[in-house]
């Protein structure tokens, strides 16, 4: 995989997650989200919001995230790593 392709995939997955957060928590400030900081800490989200991120992934992309994997979605970087193969498998990327 060449570097620019990889880079664009990373940005695509981030955008997918941020679009969902925008819907789930419309009043959150998404302008300066850090990739390596827990989303819950920087966006003041609770477990209800987090559940919605998982549910939206299922609704929009048919991507299933089992409960034991929730922690892998803690940061944007974690989301990219965990979701990229899953989104590729459903041809969402």
């Amino acid at each position: 995989m060449n570097a620019s392709f990889k880079n664009s995939t990373v940005e695509q997955v981030k955008k997918i997650v941020l679009d969902i957060i925008e819907l789930v928590a419309p009043d959150a400030d998404l302008s300066s989200v850090k990739s390596d900081v827990r989303l819950r800490d920087q966006l003041d989200m609770d477990s209800m919001d987090f559940l919605d991120i998982v549910m939206e992934l299922r609704k929009r992309y048919k991507v299933e995230v089992p409960k034991e994997d929730y922690t892998q979605l803690a940061t944007l970087d974690g989301c990219v790593e965990y979701l990229t193969p899953k989104l590729q498998a459903v041809a969402a990327l």
């Binding site: 819907l23 928590a25 009043d27 609770d46 209800m48 919001d49 559940l51 919605d52 549910m55």
Partner: protein, 461 residues
């Protein structure tokens, strides 16, 4: 017919649970026995006039932008916009006891200043009490039962201050007689005093209609006028549902907002009904008066007055049809300076004993209503002088009305004193939401449905 989830009751909690599940593409059916939706918070038309039941105030009111609050969470979870509720904030309300009056607004500083004035020797203790209440984690589902009265006596010394704080909190959500569970007390106290009161300009119907519209837009199915008559239990699970019409349904999961007792009562395993839990004993009568002018025209500007005119405040099932020693006077017109209501409305709520209202024959029942109306009006004139001569129409609901239209046994609007915080029942795929799950108020009712849907369906998928 098979559904992923069947929800019993199209009140606020059932509809909220339905929206969550239908939005995430579950096959959901909400089944409502009554011909109208809303349950304990509903509305009807009589003689060309629209009447609201339930909702005096939407508690938990916070201004837009306060994120981690029940109202904000609710709107996010249901994907509703604040504008749809069109909320008008209260100006002030009051707690009125013999010789003392505490005014409060949606700013806790106003109540604190009032306590400093009326109970100067208590103010430091009151401030510490507020800090303790603010810190208490009432939303945890595993808080043990603990007496609110004893907790308050540890913090505050003046018994009248304790009673004056308990009065509104109990009237707006306590299923227990005499005392209240401290966790429930804190939830209610925060929703009344730390947050506050507002009213949808369209009344309770504005909320119900927004919920139904949302639910339908998510392709949720709603059956009106056909209740769930029986739940057939096999291997510790609900295996099938029988409707009043005789139709049979099956569902992977059943969520019931009918009440714990009311739900267990329709369960049958090999023709045997399970042991039944407690029912609640606290019920009310409410008189709704239509006036030829607004309460403000008569010099009355409080949105709600919680009053008690006897030496002690008694919150319990009375020994007579209605207990006129304390009550709630609600003036929907007073939420908004703009005139959004065509006529003046005064709602008077009192504690009631359900038994005589249930047992009365038709003629006695009508006579009881008339007698109750006359006495209630006379008593309420202490708080709203001379309003009797301006009453042009009235209606009244009693424990019997509540049982008839909501199915809540004995008209116990706040359900059983024993709450099931996590919604679980003895059956694996049957869950309780609404009144008996123990979240309080209108916002609490909807959060209850959301929580049960999240906890037992969405997170478990």
């Amino acid at each position: 017919m098979h559904y992923d989830v069947v929800i019993i009751g199209a009140g606020m909690s059932g509809l909220a649970a339905g929206i969550r599940l239908a939005y995430y593409d579950y096959r959901v059916c909400v089944v409502e026995r009554h011909h109208a939706v809303g349950g304990l918070n509903s509305y009807y038309k009589r003689g060309g006039r629209e009447f609201d039941v339930g909702l005096h105030a939407l508690t938990n009111f916070v201004p837009a932008g306060k994120r981690q609050t029940p109202l904000a969470k609710l709107l996010r979870q249901l994907r509703l916009s604040r504008n749809e509720l069109d909320l008008a904030e209260q100006r002030y309300s009051e707690v009125s006891f013999p010789g003392r009056r505490l005014r409060f607004t949606n700013d806790i500083a106003v109540l604190t200043a009032q306590v400093a004035e009326e109970f100067p020797q208590e103010i430091d203790r009151f401030r510490r009490f507020l800090a303790d209440v603010a810190e208490f984690e009432d939303t945890r589902l595993d808080q043990p039962h603990h007496s609110a009265r004893s907790a308050m006596r540890e913090s505050l010394h003046d018994p009248q201050l304790i009673e004056m704080l308990l009065c509104p909190v109990m009237y707006y959500g306590n299923a227990e007689e005499h005392d209240m569970d401290f966790t429930q007390f804190v939830t209610m106290f925060k929703s009344l005093f730390f947050e506050g009161f507002a009213r949808p300009r369209g009344g309770v119907r504005a909320i119900i209609r927004a919920l139904v519209k949302k639910y339908r837009s998510c392709k949720g199915e709603l059956r009106i006028g056909d209740g769930v008559a029986g739940l057939e239990i096999r291997n510790n699970r609900v295996a099938g549902l029988t409707l009043d019409s005789g139709e049979q349904l099956t569902a992977d999961i059943v969520i019931s907002s009918a009440g714990h007792y009311e739900t267990m009562q329709i369960c049958q395993e090999n023709g045997v009904t399970p042991d039944l839990p407690d029912t609640g004993a606290v019920s009310f009568v409410e008189t709704i008066c239509i006036l030829d002018r607004t309460p403000a025209d008569l010099g009355h500007e409080a949105a709600i007055v919680f009053f008690n005119d006897s030496e002690k405040f008694h919150y319990a099932r009375p020994r007579e049809p209605v207990d006129l020693r304390s009550g709630v006077l609600c003036c929907p017109n007073n939420y908004d300076r703009h005139k959004h209501l065509a006529e003046g409305i005064v709602r008077l709520t009192w504690l009631a004993d359900f038994a005589p209202w249930m047992d009365a024959d038709a003629d006695t029942y009508v006579a009881m209503k008339q007698a109750c109306f006359a006495k209630a009006i006379e008593r309420a004139e202490a708080y709203l002088p001379r309003f009797r001569e301006h009453v042009v129409d009235w209606d009244m609901f009693t424990p019997r009305t509540i049982e008839r239209f909501t199915g809540h046994i004995s008209g116990a609007v706040y359900g059983s004193p024993r709450k099931i915080r996590d919604g679980r029942t003895q059956y694996e795929n049957l869950f309780i939401c609404g009144t008996d799950q123990g979240f309080l108020g209108i916002i609490g009712a909807m959060l209850s449905g959301i929580t049960v849907a999240n906890l037992h369906v969405l997170s478990d998928s």
